[in-house]
C-alpha cells in the first residue's frame, strides 16, 4: 500500500496518539499525484522536449507577448479596481447597518457561484453596442464589449469576491480602541482611516489583490464571450493556448501553458509569503 511507504518517508513528524496519519496522508498524496501532479508533470515533460531555442521563439513571438500583455494588463487593472472598491464594499458591509446589507453581503459571492460562461454571455449582452449599458456609450463612439475594456469588466466581476472575502474578516477584527486612540491624539477621521487603519489591512488587501490577479490572468469562460478575441488587441493568453491547440500546434500551446503555469506557481508562493509575513507581523492572515 502506498500509505505504508508514505508513512516511512514522512517519518519526520511529531509523535501523536491520533491514528490515521499514514492512511490519510498516503491517500491524499496518491490522489494529489494522480489528479494534479502527474498531469502537470506531463505538461512540463512535453515542454521540455522542445529545444531552448524553440521555446524562446514561441515565447518571444509578438503574438504570444501581446496575449500575455493583454492577460496581465487587464488582470492587473481589474485587480486594482477590485482592491479599491472591494475595500470600500467591505467597509460598508462591516461598519454600517442599512436595509439590504445581508442581501448584498450574500450577493458578493455570486461570481464564485455563477458559472463563468453564464457571466460571459450575460456581460456581453449588457455591454455590447446594442446592449443595456453598451447602448449608452455607443453614441459617443465608446465600445466596451469586444475590447480590452470588456475583458477588464469581466475580470472585475470574477475577482471582486476574492478581495472582499479576504479583507472582510480582518476588518471585522480591527480593534476600535486604535481608532479612538488616534482620534484622541488629534487625528481627523481621514487621517485615522488612511494612516492607521489601512496600513494594518495592507497584507489582507494585498492577498486579495494577488488572488484576484491570479484568477484574472487565467480566466477563460467569462472572457471569451466579451473579449472580441482580436490578436494583439484583445486576445488573452488562455485563448491563445486554445487557438494553438486548434491549429494542431501542440508545441505552441504547451510552451505558453508552461510559462503561465510557472507564473501561477510563483503567484501562489508570493501569496503564501504575504500571509506568512502578515501572520508574523500582525498576528492574522
Amino acid at each position: 500500500m502506498t500509505s505504508a511507504t508514505a508513512f516511512k518517508r514522512w517519518r519526520v513528524k511529531e509523535p501523536s496518539i491520533i491514528p490515521g496519519f499514514g492512511l490519510t496522508l498516503g491517500f491524499s498524496l496518491a490522489y494529489l499525484s494522480l489528479i494534479i501532479l502527474i498531469p502537470l508533470a506531463g505538461l512540463v515533460w512535453r515542454a521540455s522536449s522542445l529545444s531552448g531555442a524553440e521555446l524562446l521563439a514561441i515565447l518571444t513571438d509578438a503574438r504570444t507577448l501581446a496575449a500575455l500583455k493583454v492577460s496581465f494588463g487587464t488582470a492587473l487593472i481589474a485587480a486594482a479596481v477590485n482592491a479599491v472598491f472591494g475595500v470600500l464594499i467591505c467597509w460598508v458591509l462591516v461598519r454600517y447597518d442599512f436595509p439590504g446589507r445581508r442581501l448584498i453581503d450574500a450577493m458578493v459571492d455570486l461570481p464564485f457561484a455563477l458559472p463563468t460562461a453564464v457571466a460571459g454571455i450575460s456581460l456581453s449582452a449588457l455591454y455590447a453596442p446594442q446592449g443595456w449599458i453598451g447602448a449608452w456609450f455607443a453614441p459617443f463612439g465608446i465600445r466596451i464589449a469586444y475590447t480590452p475594456i470588456g475583458i477588464t469588466i469581466a475580470l472585475i466581476f470574477i475577482g471582486l469576491p476574492f478581495v472582499v472575502r479576504t479583507v472582510q474578516p480582518v476588518m471585522e477584527e480591527i480593534d476600535r480602541d486604535v481608532e479612538e486612540a488616534a482620534a484622541t491624539l488629534g487625528a481627523n477621521r481621514f487621517q485615522t482611516v488612511f494612516k492607521v487603519l489601512l496600513p494594518g489591512l495592507a497584507p489582507a488587501i494585498l492577498t486579495g489583490f494577488a488572488l484576484a490577479f491570479a484568477r484574472g490572468v487565467g480566466e477563460y469562460g467569462s472572457v471569451v464571450f466579451i473579449a472580441g478575441n482580436i490578436p494583439y488587441v484583445s486576445e488573452i493568453a488562455p485563448l491563445l493556448i486554445v487557438i494553438r491547440l486548434e491549429e494542431f500546434n501542440y508545441a505552441g500551446a504547451t510552451a505558453i501553458a508552461t510559462i503561465m503555469l510557472a507564473i501561477s506557481f510563483a503567484m501562489l508562493l508570493v501569496i503564501n509569503l504575504i500571509q506568512a509575513w502578515s501572520r508574523a507581523r500582525y498576528g492574522h492572515d
Binding site: A128, Q130, V242
Partner: protein, 341 residues
C-alpha cells in the same frame, strides 16, 4: 448528531435516484458525425431523413450525433481521439491532416465517393448591412475607406481559408499575378478584420449579433441562414464578380468504424448524401448540390451563377501545395497577417 448524516444520505439517495431514473435511451446503432460550423441546420434535417430511410431499408434504428466547430479544430479533435464515424469537414486538407497524423483515414479517401467525395459545394459571398451603406459590390470595395471586414481565423476555420483563397483569386486576376500587389491587398484585407473567430459560426455571431464590421465574408449557405435568422430586412447578400468553388468533403473514419463495427451504416450515411433526398435537402439549406438534375428547380433558383475558380487552378495548384504555402507555419498568411493595433 445523526441529522447531518441523514441529510447526507438523503442528498446522496436523491442524486442517485435522479441518475437512475434519467433515461439513457440507447439506439441500436449510433453514428458520430464530426462536422464544421455552418452545417448544423442541414445535418439536423438530413440525420432525421437518413434515420427514416435506414429504418425503412434495414429495419435498424440509427441515431446520429453531431459535433460542430471550426473545421481545423474538429480535425484536431478527431486526431486526438474524438470517436467520429464520419467527418464532414470544410476542406480536403483537414481530412488529409487526419490521414497524415495517425492514419485514422486511409490516404485514398478522396476517390471513394463521387465528385471527389464532395456531395455538395458552396462558395463565398458577402453579407452586408441593409441598404449596403458602404457600397460594397466586389472584392475591390472591401479595402476602400474605413470598411471593416469580419472573417474567421484561417488557421482554425475551413471557411476562412476559402475566404482567403477567393480574395486571392480575385486579386490575382485584378493585379495580373503581381505577387507584391496581391499580398498587399490580402494584408490590407486582414488589417480590416477587427475579430478573427475560430469558426465561421463565431464570425456570423460577431457580425450579426454583436453588430461588428461592415461586411461578413461568409459561406453562401451561412449568409442565407443569417438572413433567415435575423430577418430579411437586416442584411443583404452581395454576390461578387468572382469567387471560389468550395468543396467541403466527407469521409468515413476507417480506424474508428472498424473498431466500432459501424462501417456499413457509416458508408450508407455518406452515400445517402448523394441520394435525391439528400441532394434536395442540401439545396434547401443553400448548398450547391453535386447532382443538380435531381433537385427541384425552385431550390436552385436561390443559388446564382458566379464565376468560380477552383483550388486546382494554377494560381493555387491544389490543396497539397496551397495548404503549406498559404496557411502552414510561417506561410504567406503568417507573413502578411499584421492586424490593426
Amino acid at each position: 448528531m445523526t441529522r447531518p448524516a441523514r441529510l447526507f444520505t438523503l442528498a446522496a439517495a436523491s442524486l442517485l435516484a435522479t441518475l437512475l431514473v434519467a433515461p439513457q435511451v440507447m439506439a441500436d446503432t449510433t453514428l458520430l458525425n464530426v462536422s464544421y460550423d455552418p452545417t448544423r441546420e442541414f445535418y439536423k434535417d438530413f440525420n432525421a431523413a437518413f434515420a427514416r430511410h435506414y429504418k425503412a431499408e434495414t429495419g435498424e434504428t440509427v441515431t446520429i450525433q453531431q459535433s460542430h466547430g471550426g473545421s481545423g479544430k474538429q480535425a484536431r479533435s478527431v486526431i486526438d481521439g474524438l470517436e467520429a464515424d464520419v467527418v464532414t469537414l470544410a476542406l480536403e486538407s483537414d481530412i488529409d491532416a487526419i490521414a497524415a497524423n495517425g492514419g485514422k483515414i486511409k490516404p485514398d479517401w478522396r476517390g471513394r465517393l463521387p465528385n471527389n467525395s464532395a456531395p455538395y459545394t458552396s462558395t463565398i459571398v458577402f453579407l452586408v448591412r441593409k441598404g449596403n451603406p458602404k457600397n460594397i459590390h466586389d472584392w475591390g470595395d472591401l479595402v476602400k475607406g474605413d470598411v471593416q471586414i469580419v472573417t474567421p481565423n484561417p488557421k482554425t476555420s475551413g471557411g476562412a481559408r476559402w475566404n482567403y483563397l477567393a480574395a486571392w483569386a480575385w486579386a490575382s486576376k485584378e493585379f495580373k499575378g503581381d505577387q507584391a500587389e496581391i499580398r498587399a491587398y490580402i494584408a490590407d484585407l486582414y488589417r480590416r478584420a477587427p475579430v478573427l473567430d475560430s469558426g465561421a459560426r463565431g464570425s456570423t455571431v460577431t457580425f450579426a449579433q454583436r453588430q461588428i464590421g461592415d461586411v461578413l465574408l461568409a459561406w453562401e449557405n451561412e449568409a442565407y441562414l443569417a438572413g433567415e435568422e435575423f430577418g430579411k430586412d437586416a442584411f443583404e447578400i452581395v454576390v461578387p464578380s468572382m469567387s471560389i468553388l468550395a468543396e467541403p468533403p466527407v469521409a468515413v473514419v476507417d480506424a474508428n468504424v472498424d473498431a466500432k463495427g459501424t462501417r456499413k451504416v457509416a458508408e450508407a450515411y455518406l452515400q445517402y448524401l448523394y441520394s435525391d433526398e439528400g441532394q434536395n435537402l442540401a439545396a434547401k439549406h443553400f448548398y450547391r448540390p453535386a447532382r443538380r438534375e435531381v433537385v427541384k428547380p425552385e431550390l436552385l433558383k436561390a443559388l446564382p451563377d458566379i464565376k468560380l475558380v477552383t483550388i486546382d487552378d494554377p494560381i493555387f495548384g491544389g490543396w497539397k501545395k496551397a495548404q503549406p504555402e498559404h496557411f502552414g507555419d510561417g506561410g504567406i498568411f503568417d507573413q502578411i497577417y499584421k492586424p490593426a493595433r
